[in-house]
Amino acid sequence: MLLFRGPHWDRGLSRQELQAAMDEVMAWFEGLNQHGKIKTGQPLGTQGRIISGTNGHLVVDGPFAESKEAVGGYLLVQADNLNEASEIARSAPMLKYGITVEVRPVLAECPIFQRHPDLAQRARERAVQVDQLWAAAAA
């Protein structure tokens, strides 16, 4: 997964520069797409909320509009390994306007679950039971 951080890289660019940048970005997406490298991906709205605390009792507006670290969008790319994914990230034209790309392998299973395989196995069995209950309830 590629996470694009810094959603305001367009600030300070002239109209011509912005048009050139947009053309480059579009061509980049299109090229990756034609090579079957994009599984999914979307820009994110700059509004949003941060939920924390027991039962999520703290709900605050996120500081996404002005933050350089905020995630502005993501791409789930098809790559054989972290190196290939990093190479795809390095080809992102937005880098020269100051964004940062975070490259993270997606997992079939949570690392917290992997650290406790016995617990995860029991939880999995219970989840299957819950799934069956839901299926039965829906039937």
Binding site: W9, G56, P111
Partner: protein, 139 residues
Amino acid sequence: MSTTSTAKSGYLLLFRGNVWDRGLSPAQLQKVVSDWMTWFERLKAEGKCVGGHPLEDEGKVISGKQRAVADGPFAESKEAIGGYFYLTVADEKEAIEIAKQCPGLEYGSVVEVRPVADECSIKQRAQEYSTHELAGATA
């Protein structure tokens, strides 16, 4: 037949903090792992969660005109994104209600709720730019 809108919107839940399992007792861990799987299965069964992945602790960060590649500080960070859910729900309120059910919250996990946009906000700004310029030219 109901005339109320059934249009669904996309929201990304980003789970921040990937070391919240440290220091939990085996019983607490069993419960949270089990609750998390049950929660995910239920949301999938309800059609509210259409995708999601845990992310590996390792990863790369790419930045700058030189496109420098650095190892990410994801393993020990409270802010690092540990995984995500892709929700399709009626509105932000429903996305927030789901985020509040996250079993990791009482152990210090933080959930970021972000609307998924159809179009990049930078593209929208570029279009506004053109519109303003056109309006200026014809005024």
